[in-house]
């Protein structure tokens, strides 16, 4: 365990900037987002960003390849390049957990090399949450906001940052700034973890349980009549899917640049009416079906295919961003058999 003062953290960022692009959470005009660190950038008070760290690995829009066509012939130009080495600082436990969920999709055979490339070059420095939001419910998914995973785990306690390397990749980063860090024992951190446990008890959604959901429960939930009521006001926009750190559905599209064709992928949403639309039919015609798909995927289908792991980390972004305030919390509560979630 190492520590450095709040002032020295900027020296740490500076030192790391020579080998890495360092992204840190900043707050500007009521918005919290990751900004590439340069001299003078000031850390936000609260590190939870409006959009999650997913965007670094699975960006909103990403070029896949180029085509040059001439007459009847086609040339495919593979424009993949090795990603830069980068560090994301201050990632909360939920968002780090979401990356391991994305790994289950993108790193499963056949491996998505666009994602893999960035994942291999990215270093995740997490920070324990001492001030979670009212909409947070990560503990529902057994994520511990006091003991986040990642390459390096940090705690912000008083005037100091405490560092703990968790992986080789993380330790390599800490070695580079060893001169700026001092050795400390676990004492302060243990106290902070206790404090966070107390904070967790205050969270309005702390008792939310998903015990009724999980693998192989498709038949139990698919035909529930409550879906109609839950989805009735859904606008069919993509807000929940785009702010979600685990949503990863995408579309592949071609764009004629005038000089050739750029094939790119971009976020897509199961909430959109054309998501499953083909020339001769649509497997999910109504908004109810599309709404159901999103939550069945997170609470049943994904666990079925992934050893019982849910594809929600309880970050609460959909809870605070949905235009009609319909969200996975309300879905879980409505469809649970009663008892715990009442």
């Amino acid at each position: 365990m190492k520590k450095c003062s709040k002032e020295n953290i900027y020296k740490v960022f500076n030192a790391l900037s020579s080998d890495y692009s360092v992204y840190v959470p900043v707050k500007e005009e009521n918005r919290t987002f990751y900004k590439k660190y340069f001299d003078g950038v000031v850390l936000a008070e609260n590190f939870k960003t409006d959009r999650s760290a997913k965007d670094f690995f699975f960006p909103q829009s990403e070029d896949l390849m180029k085509f040059k066509t001439q007459g009847k012939s086609i040339e495919i130009i593979d424009e993949r390049e090795e990603s830069e080495d980068f560090i994301i600082f201050g990632v909360p436990a939920c968002d780090e957990a979401s990356l391991r969920i994305l790994d289950r999709v993108f790193l499963a055979e056949p491996v998505d090399t666009y994602y893999q490339n960035k994942r291999e070059h990215g270093v995740i420095i997490t920070t324990a949450c001492s001030r979670p939001e009212a909409s947070c419910f990560c503990s529902t998914f057994d994520i511990d906001m006091a003991r986040p995973q990642g390459d390096i785990r940090t705690y912000k306690i008083g005037d100091y940052f405490y560092f703990e390397g968790l992986t080789d990749k993380g330790n390599k980063v800490l070695d580079k700034v060893n001169a700026l860090l001092e050795d400390v024992d676990q004492g302060e951190v243990e106290k902070e973890i206790e404090n966070i446990q107390k904070v967790k008890e205050k969270l309005p959604l702390k008792d939310l349980s998903v015990k009724d959901f999980g693998a192989d429960k498709t038949q139990e939930f698919f035909d529930r009549k409550e879906w109609a009521e839950l989805s009735n006001a859904c606008l069919g926009c993509g807000t929940c899917t785009f702010v979600c750190p685990t949503c990863q559905c995408y579309d592949i599209k071609d764009f004629n640049t005038g000089k050739g064709v750029q094939r790119y992928r971009c976020w897509d949403s199961c909430m959109y009416s054309d998501f499953t639309k083909m020339a001769h039919g649509n497997s999910r015609n109504s908004q109810m079906e599309r709404f159901r798909q999103r939550f069945m995927h997170k609470l049943v289908y994904f666990p079925t295919n992934n050893d019982g792991v849910f594809s929600c980390v309880g970050c609460g972004r959909c809870v605070s961003k949905c235009p009609i305030s319909m969200n996975i919390v309300k879905v879980i509560k409505t469809l649970s058999k009663g008892g715990e979630n009442e």
Binding site: I74, V261, C270
Partner: protein, 274 residues
């Protein structure tokens, strides 16, 4: 590092007009070889840069070592563009995708009954020609195939010249309505299947429009077939082909990865969302 989303360039070396809205395209790589090996029932993603990608079942048999064929019905942007393509046109191709018909397990040693309607024959042609090739390993083959009219029967020439002359194969053709120059059976596929009164020792492979599948299943049930004997192949919207883009799922199964071939009893356990 190979990337599954990046295709290779293929060349259309032959275009055959099958019906007023179906053409069959022969595709090889730029150096004249077969693009990749596949199993009967698998699919490939074809694309024309600037128009987009679309998934098609590989119509030719894996036993064909020289090229692949795709029978494609005109119904969307990509297919429309393909229908206007000429020999020599390059396209892109990636695959193979999905599972295959269980030719090495469930089909082994069995009498096989293929039931298809319209363009639904395309995905079955691969497996029909595969089992014809390895005839010793399979029993008798029955093909019930129907279409709106004689002109709409896909691969009519192959059916007449090859399948009907194959002693192992019995072909039962039908068209929806009476037509001049047609002395074969007239009527819908589901009824014809019932009329033919097949014995229930056969393994069935079914592909066609949803309404045909629905009524054929009812017909087969009344003849005493069980769902575990019946296989079908599905088509939903696909973009990636590798189970990641998230749209072709039926419940927890992705058609591009866990399908497109499903046994009827497995399919009936999935949500009715296809």
């Amino acid at each position: 590092m190979s990337e599954p989303l990046i295709p290779i360039v293929g060349v259309i070396t032959d275009v055959r007009i099958d019906t007023p809205d179906v053409k069959t395209f022969r595709v090889v790589t730029v150096d004249g070889k077969k693009a990749f090996e596949h199993k009967p029932g698998q699919c490939a993603m074809l694309s024309i840069p600037g128009i987009g990608e679309a998934m098609f079942s590989i119509t030719s048999s894996p036993t064909n070592t020289e090229f692949m064929e795709f029978s494609i019905k005109k119904c969307g942007c990509v297919t429309e563009w393909l229908h206007s393509a000429e020999v020599g046109q390059q396209i892109t191709i990636r695959g193979p995708y999905g599972n295959a018909f269980p030719v090495d397990t469930a089909f082994k040693g069995k009498d096989l009954l293929f039931v298809a309607g319209g363009i639904g024959l395309a995905p079955l042609r691969s497996v029909i020609n595969y089992v014809r090739h390895y005839k010793d390993q399979y029993g008798k083959i029955d093909v019930v195939y129907g279409s709106r009219s004689k002109e709409d029967l896909v691969d009519y020439n192959e059916i007449i010249e090859e399948w009907q002359n194959d002693p192992q194969v019995s072909v039962h053709l039908t068209i929806d309505r009476e037509q001049e120059g047609w002395d074969g059976h007239v009527g819908f596929v589901p009824n014809y299947v019932k009329e033919l009164n097949f014995t229930t020792d056969k393994t069935v492979v079914l592909c066609g429009p949803p309404i045909m599948i629905k009524f054929t299943l009812e017909g087969l049930k009344s003849l005493g077939f069980s769902q575990t004997q019946i296989f079908t192949t599905m088509e939903l919207k696909m973009k990636c082909g590798i189970g990641k883009c998230g749209r072709c799922n039926i419940g927890s199964k992705y058609v591009c990865k866990d399908g497109p071939v499903f046994r009827m009893d497995q399919l009936s356990e999935l949500p009715d969302e296809y």
